[in-house]
């Protein structure tokens, strides 16, 4: 029984490898390249002919003139594109609370006048370490700082936030959010 089973097992496995392991991904790649070239290649953001990032991958910001992204647990640097990870800190781990305190302090130091409670995303690490977005609350929290440093009216910055806010899908799925890289690029583009 073993030998008469071996031939179909081996040959079927090889045929399936060619079919599902080579033909299938090649077909998808071919169609994707023609139909969705921008998405298939990583949704890169090009400025003056140079790639400055991807719409989908977050970047680290610490300059007060920019909106800051969420904390990132990637190593050695935050938002390391080839080392996606969360912190995996448990809810009682003292390291989690220390991290929250440190991030809250950094936000306060950058804008001592701001006494609002800090939105939770700005002090917690995302799952991927590459979260490209923050909530409208997290953007508004930073609006006064960005406006002051850039010498812009707060209203102008808030309008920019509003125009970059994406809502829930069908009002139900996902969360309202703002792409930080796009928002910061728009800020740099203001005159």
């Amino acid at each position: 029984m073993f030998t008469r089973t071996l031939r179909p097992a081996l040959s079927l496995l090889l045929v399936m490898t060619v079919l599902t392991g080579l033909a299938y991904p090649l077909l998808i790649t071919g169609i994707a390249r023609v139909a969705f070239p921008q998405q298939a290649a990583g949704s890169l953001v090009i400025q003056h002919g140079k790639a400055v990032g991807s719409q989908l991958i977050g970047q680290s910001f610490s300059d007060p003139k920019y909106f800051w992204s969420r904390p990132s647990a990637t190593t050695p640097q935050p938002y390391n594109g080839v080392a996606s990870t969360g912190s995996n800190l448990g809810p009682l781990n003292p390291a989690l609370i220390d991290g929250v305190k440190a991030q809250a302090k950094a936000l306060h130091d950058a804008d001592p006048a701001n006494t609002q409670p800090i939105p939770v995303e700005l002090v917690t690490a995302s799952a991927s370490g590459l979260d490209p977005e923050i909530s409208p609350a997290a953007a508004r929290y930073q609006a006064a700082r960005v406006a002051r440093v850039r010498g812009l009216p707060t209203g102008r910055v808030e309008a920019l936030i509003a125009s970059h806010t994406q809502g829930r899908l069908l009002g139900l799925f996902g969360e309202p959010r703002i792409n930080v890289l796009e928002l910061n690029l728009a800020l740099d583009g203001l005159h």
């Binding site: 594109g81 448990g90 809810p91 009682l92 917690t124 995302s126 799952a127 991927s128």
Partner: protein, 604 residues
Amino acid sequence: MNADTTFYLMLLVFLGLVVLCVKPLGSYMADVMEGRPNFAVRIGGRFEGLLYRLCGIDPAGQMGWKHYAIALLLFNVLGALIVYALQRAQLWLPLNPQKFAAVSPDSSFNTAVSFITNTNWQGYSGESTMGYLVQMAGLAVQNFMSAATGIVVAIALVRGFARHTVSTIGNFWVDITRSTLYILLPLSVVFALVLVSQGVIQNFDGYKDVTTLERVSYQNPKTDAAGNPIKDAAGNAVTEAASTQTQTLPMGPIASQESIKELGTNGGGFLNANSAHPYENPSPLTNLLEMLAILAIPFALTYTFGRMVGDTRQGWVILAAMLVLLVPMIVLAFQIEQHGNPLIARQGIDQLASATQSGGNMEGKETRFGIAASSLFAAVTTATSCGAVNSMHDSMMPLGGFVPLFLIELGELAPGGVGTGLYSVLMFAILGVFIAGLMIGRTPEYIGKKIEALEMKLASVFILTTPFVVLIGTAVAVSVAAGKIAVANPGAHGFSEILYAFSSAANNNGSAFGGISANTVFYNVALGLAMFIARFWPIVAALAIAGSLAAKKRVPVSDGTMPTHGPLFVALLVGSVLLIGVLTYVPALALGPVVEHFALAAVK
């Protein structure tokens, strides 16, 4: 709308979409697996016939359960050897633009077993370990084959009920070919293209460097000439200041792998962060579709079952029992996570849900998913054998993290993995009618077949193998240094990481409390064995039951037959699942999430 209303509406719409798929997909799968000519078979029939000739397969030949089981085991073990060889040889293979080195023997073993068993536990980090050829021709192929293996075992068991007085349960080669060719592959093609259109990448380029807006300063660990980190006298890593304005973006054929990863309830991510990574799951829409893809086939197979045994009510009853088990767990996860972490609230942080933020426990969650879509995904992926994650389960609250852990430990049957869910739940149905039979003093029957001593013994083997592997494995790991050193979080949470690892491996889930450093010889070997034993031992038991049932006469329905198509049977089935799950795991769970929950209240 407040957060609760939005969540419950979302859940209702989502489950509605899932249930809508059940009848069309379920009857399509019944057609295909019963060999009834439909449009797909007419299109693919020629190719299918050619494939059989090429492989020397007689599609008309029927197999007894032993032959079927041997074919299945051989096919899977050969698959593991190929995945192992590809990883070991990847430096010399094409499509490895980052020139990744050969994967270590123990990690290659673990990953090979992991992917053939539909577990997709990952001790490695995808974007820095695996070349594109290994991902495609090794891992993705097993995504298809392990899912197809699950389907064929389920179908063989259903045939055991549907057939009578015969010695055969089908043809393994034909079943595996048909479930790949007509079910998994076409769905994957369509879904992969949808995913690309939404931003999931699909290319063979090398990784891309971009120049970021701001220069990032950080501390870089120093390494010696051999690449090992240098440590100071106190054992802390020595670092030096560094900065960069370059971000390297991973590339690869991700969409084609992502689609089968969900449809086949595999769950192994191309990238380390899995479905939390924006290149795998970029938006609320892709997230919704990925969750639908995970649940579609497992739920639809209940209808396939009903159709094949000639009474669709039997399928709907099982679906109802699955929902009764699943929905409360989803709600629990959402409520706990939305409530947030009181220790973070004490720092003056705003965790309240509002129109402008999701709030709640956002550690380890992505902004675009927030609490609702992360909690739902966590339950969906562990109620099946998927194990893909869109949030980090390790950072969930104690009782939030209890939900995925407990759903895994219940045996992943609400609705369970592709095929595995159906055959697992049928084992509990057998147990349920047996318990009921004891109560009323009659020989138990299910779907017209007498359930006798042999079936009960085999069902017990099926049901008890996995808990045995989980609890023994956990006990060994917490007793040896190699097991304890891998833990990332202190206290009860560290125990939960180990318990989760063995629960996930033995139930072929693949998700993790990811802080655990499992890419060590101890865990690669221990978890590899757990995955293998707890996958194939129960499968052989299920096929043996299929063979025994197929040989039996059909018992006509009489006044004494206990009906298995009503609410009473739903209660019986749910009760059996909970009885076994709770009795088996309560002690272990008490030491993990439960202790941690009370410890949280005691933190000063």
